[in-house]
């Protein structure tokens, strides 16, 4: 099986803070990590490789420091790593990102399966995976919890709003993976890290994948950010102190006042 996994290096959004005065992000000291959904997607790909044989190729679009997450993926078991890195990609929204990724995936060619994390924890859009699927004219199954491949059929268990579905499609397919809420990403042992140094790594530019500049980066993006700001702070009510009995009485008063209790 030839599987590609799209991965992204993101700031750990659980640690990002916003400067309330300027509305900009404080990134100082915030570590960059492999997007946890992509981490889960990668583990799914590696499990399939172990069961069905084949190779796992990881692709990322990012600045040169994104090489770290590609190497991490290789330390976890991925074979080839490809970093799509070009100044022309700067400022890409999800469409332009999907365009670049789909060009790279096309260049790799003959893929049986493409797996993406459902979304990146910085953009939170969950749009890139389906867009890539559309550009490659592949069937898509989004928000998968589990995927399995037997012969040329992929079976996926996916979330729906009030339950789950089991779906099937013939390869090639693109899947996006959701993540169990108690997911603990695997980390590589020291020898596994050392072994990853020898694995094939390639840096591809826009030209290498035949991405036309008009469809790339800021200019190629149909959406643009008008402005960014800190979330509005609600004006909080005054803090009420007291003994448990006093506070309970107060709360009952509040419930009556707000008409939740007669």
């Amino acid at each position: 099986m030839k599987i590609a996994v799209c991965i992204k290096q993101v700031p750990d959004s659980t640690q990002v803070k916003v400067d309330p005065k300027t509305g900009t992000l404080i990134r100082a000291g915030v570590p960059s990590i492999l997007n946890p959904y992509d981490h889960f997607a990668l583990e799914a790909a590696l499990a399939l490789k172990e069961k069905n044989g084949g190779e796992v190729i990881v692709v990322s679009m990012g600045p040169s420091q994104a090489k770290s997450v590609i190497r991490l993926a290789q330390a976890l078991g991925a074979d080839t790593g490809i970093l799509l890195c070009d100044r022309v990609f700067a400022g890409s929204d999800t469409w332009a990102t999907a365009y670049a990724l789909s060009r790279a995936l096309r260049k790799i060619g003959k893929l049986d399966l493409i797996i993406c994390g459902q979304m990146a924890i910085d953009g939170d859009t969950a749009q890139t995976g389906p867009a890539v699927a559309q550009m490659l004219h592949l069937p898509q199954i989004t928000f998968c919890e589990k995927i399995d491949v037997r012969n040329r059929t992929l079976r996926a268990k996916k979330h729906i709003d009030d339950g789950f579905e089991v779906l099937e499609a013939t390869l090639p397919v693109l899947c996006t993976m959701t993540m169990p809420h108690d997911y603990k990403p695997k980390y590589p042992s020291f020898p596994a890290v050392a072994r990853s140094e020898a694995k094939p790594f390639e840096l591809w530019t826009a030209q290498d994948v035949g991405a036309e500049e008009q469809y790339c980066g800021l200019n190629g993006s149909p959406t643009r950010v008008d402005r960014v700001y800190a979330p509005p702070q609600r004006k909080p009510g005054a803090v009420i102190n007291g003994s448990a009995a006093e506070l309970a009485d107060r709360l009952v008063e509040i419930l009556k006042k707000e008409c939740f209790v007669k």
Binding site: W95, P139, Q140
Partner: protein, 398 residues
């Protein structure tokens, strides 16, 4: 425009796949006629990828795009009765405001099988028109067929805005269509407005730490998805009517490449489904254990509300994920939200800050939840809530 290249092998799969009968064979090569809606079904079906669609000319004149569209998602009850998901009412309500500002029509887009009867409901929430695609092949949501139909309709009628619910279906179909059409799509908007004729889309990013205003100035339609319980819905006006426009096409159900094998819908979670509850009593890490959540459940039952949980409580196994309120759980906007033993991490607040009245109970006077609470009680919920439950029971005469 649509182009079939020299590499066409004459397999005629595209002819079968086209819902509008616009493809035919000219000798050994496929060709498209004026019935073509640029829906892309043929592109998907072609085994050698010799068909390409370019839309540059289509979007040259932005002013030709008019109409605010709302994609209506339906579901069915256990007995098979079709209904409109509540988020549709919210989107129509918001869409009505946008349409009025733009001076354009509000149109509901309804795909399914046997769903025509829902049109009246859509009119009552403000729709001027209902574009209906009713076909047995559309009974269950399916990416390929739904995308084909929607792309055809959008290409034909040229709306300026299309709104989708940010549900599993909406988040599956919207990016697929946006990619096909090369238009801007903004996910999980918490606010929609018109700025200088463009749709201004507001959304959180970085796990809710920052807000962004997004525009799609160069492309039409402008697309956005919105989560349930984010926008307010208007009171329905049953005197309103809408014109129903029925689309015709013939779909090859086999061209749906993903097959549904099994579907299981959850029973009502204990205490009622939180995304539609008007009162939620929610517990966090501070409730500590099952006994703590029993206290929460009692109060919720007494008030006639549902039980919510923070991510920490779910991780501790105190409540299933279905009860989780927050960024990675459910967004709620009940009339009353009582947060007990919840510190108020950004990821949680994003999921409940739209609640009308927020009461927070926490032992820590610096808990961030107090920043969004209308009533901030510094104390031990374990001690306070049972007393409240007692008093409310008495008041209700139980």
């Amino acid at each position: 425009m649509i182009e079939i290249s020299q590499s066409c092998i004459g397999c005629s799969k595209c002819v079968k796949a086209c819902p509008f009968g616009a493809m035919h064979m000219e000798g050994k090569k496929a060709a498209a006629d004026e019935k073509c809606t640029l829906c892309g079904a043929c592109v998907q079906a072609c085994p050698v990828q010799c068909i390409s669609i370019s839309r540059k000319d289509e979007v040259a004149d932005l002013s030709a795009f008019k109409g605010v569209w709302v994609y209506i998602e339906t579901s069915e009850t256990a007995s098979g009765e079709k209904f409109v998901k509540g988020v549709g009412h919210e989107l129509l309500s918001a869409g009505r405001g946008l349409a009025d500002t733009l001076g354009e029509e509000l149109c509901a887009v309804l795909l399914g099988s046997g769903v025509e009867g829902l049109s009246g409901e859509l009119a009552s929430y403000g729709a001027d028109k209902v574009y209906l695609a009713d076909d047995a092949a559309l009974n269950d949501y399916n990416t390929d067929l739904y995308a084909t139909v929607l792309v055809a309709m959008i290409s034909k009628y040229k709306p300026s805005v299309v709104l989708y619910p940010s549900t599993y279906v909406g988040r599956d179909i919207a990016p697929r269509i946006a990619s096909e059409l090369y238009v801007g799509l903004t996910a999980d908007c918490t606010g929609l407005a018109i700025k200088e004729g463009n749709l201004l889309q507001t959304r959180p990013a970085f796990g809710g730490n920052i807000m962004a205003d997004i525009l799609s100035p160069k492309t039409r339609p402008q697309m956005a998805t919105v989560r349930p319980n984010v926008l307010k819905k208007n009171a329905p006006d049953s005197s309103r009517t809408a014109q129903v426009v029925r689309e015709t096409f013939s779909l090859d159900a086999k061209s749906a490449r993903v097959k549904l094998v099994e579907r299981k819908r959850n029973e009502n979670v204990c205490g009622g489904k939180i995304d539609e509850a008007s009162i939620i009593v929610s517990g966090g890490r501070g409730m500590k254990d099952a006994a703590g959540f029993a206290v929460i459940q009692e109060l919720a039952d007494t008030l006639g509300g549902a039980v919510g949980a923070s991510r920490a409580a779910v991780d501790m196994g105190l409540k299933p994920k279905a009860n989780q309120v927050g960024q990675s759980g459910t967004t709620v906007c009940p009339k009353l939200y009582i947060a007990a033993g919840i510190s108020g991490a950004v990821q949680h607040i994003v999921g409940m800050s739209a609640s009308d009245v927020i009461v927070a109970i926490n032992k820590d006077p610096n808990a961030p939840i107090f920043n969004v609470a209308k009533y901030a009680l510094v104390g031990d919920a374990h001690q306070i809530l049972p007393r409240v439950t007692e008093a409310v029971k008495k008041a209700k005469g139980c």
